[in-house]
Symmetry: C2
Subunit: 210 residues, 2 copies
DNA sequence: AATCCCATACCGAGTACTCGGTATTTTTTA
DNA sequence: TAAAAAATACCGAGTACTCGGTATGGGATT
């Protein structure tokens, strides 16, 4: 069974899974409520789901499933590539986690693993921040007319460091930090720190650590 | 051709498209750079892509494509269901836009539409904020021990209204707004406004308006 | 009727942020 | 080498936010 609010993703994934002779897709859902409703009539061996879903959140759904239908093995597919998610997912009772940029063959073998009773969490693969991020390329800097220093400071702002803390961390004056903030706000035509935070999040300069 | 950094999505979507007798998938890519590299050897009639991609952003990629390969029709698939995106995408030269929770049949017909030279932008469908959002259900409130009033104020905070502005909007005292802020911060174990903004974004209490 | 929860309101004192502007030095680019 | 860009630094004055605490009244629940 596959649950995700992105219909195209669900349909596409089901198509891929259906090509595997040992897989049988018994259901699809686009929110947590639909999942639970479906489970009242039929139980899959493996449930592949996203944690971000409307109407009933994936995490709460998973908790309910683990409590009521312990035979179901849950595999989470997430847009986040954060191995630190693993601890939290394990504590819920989820059997496996993969990011959505995983290739299909690995997905198939992981499904077989957890179907056999194993766990699949990639803890060995350390999260490497931003090496390939657009927001750190010259094209991005040029697009927004930002400097490397500005991006550096923006990242620290988005990590909730005060200007004073940033100044201390970078061995510069508080005035300098404030000037950089001001320059960014003007260049990006934003209004204050809230907009800066949003800009950082939307451009993947900040990613949640669980 | 399909471009998206979520490999499973690309593979699944290509599988769906391949079932249509009039579609021929000539390529896949997981970032903007790969797209441009591919176009040096072969041109698709329609390019289906996501705007959020690493290494080279989808928007810049699209702008380059429209400039260098005007015969290619670009259809954007986005996780955002925001019709207000349409104006911006049109100005870039993109021929169509659909959210990822679209069903496959509509996608197929839209591909055929823009392949024929038409545009597809759903402007009639007004964005309806939050009706089905998990973050506005009782389960969510219970999960985080938040009240309706707190969520209401959190939304306004995430829209960059100051406490003073919120007080004025809701006909309450500035002190009351501050108290709600304080209560939320304590309940959610956060540190200040930055964390509140992040919480709001991650729980879809705020969504970007273009 | 008593209790709890929520919304409202306030205090005091402090820090953080904003935004107009100025300036100098260092680094990069042409 | 000269010019431009980036980094650094500062001023003044004001608003916004934070966080410890206090309190009351109304509505819902037990």
């Amino acid at each position: 069974m596959v649950a995700d609010d992105h219909t195209l993703f669900v349909d596409g994934l089901c198509g891929l899974l259906a090509l595997q002779p040992d897989f049988d897709i018994i259901g699809k859902a686009s929110n947590g409520k639909e999942v639970l409703h479906f489970l009242n009539s039929r139980l899959p061996e493996v449930l592949i789901m996203d944690l971000n879903m409307p109407i009933l959140d994936g995490q709460i759904t998973a908790e309910k499933i683990v409590g009521s239908f312990p035979s179901i093995k849950i595999l989470v597919l997430s847009m986040y590539n954060a191995p630190s998610l693993s601890t939290r997912l394990k504590s819920i009772g989820i059997k496996g986690y993969l990011p959505k940029d995983t290739d299909a063959d690995l997905l198939f073998s992981v499904i077989r693993e957890i179907s056999s009773g194993n766990y699949y969490f990639r803890e060995k693969e350390k999260y490497i921040p931003g090496l390939n991020r657009f927001a750190e390329t010259d094209a991005f800097l040029k697009k927004y007319n930002l400097t490397h220093r500005e991006i550096e400071i923006l990242k620290l702002i988005s990590e909730n460091l005060s200007s004073k803390q940033i100044a201390s961390k970078l061995f510069i004056s508080l005035f300098t930090v404030d000037t950089h903030r001001k320059n960014m706000i003007q260049k990006l035509k934003l209004s204050g720190k809230t907009d800066l935070i949003k800009f950082a999040i939307q451009n993947n300069l900040w990613q949640k650590q669980f």
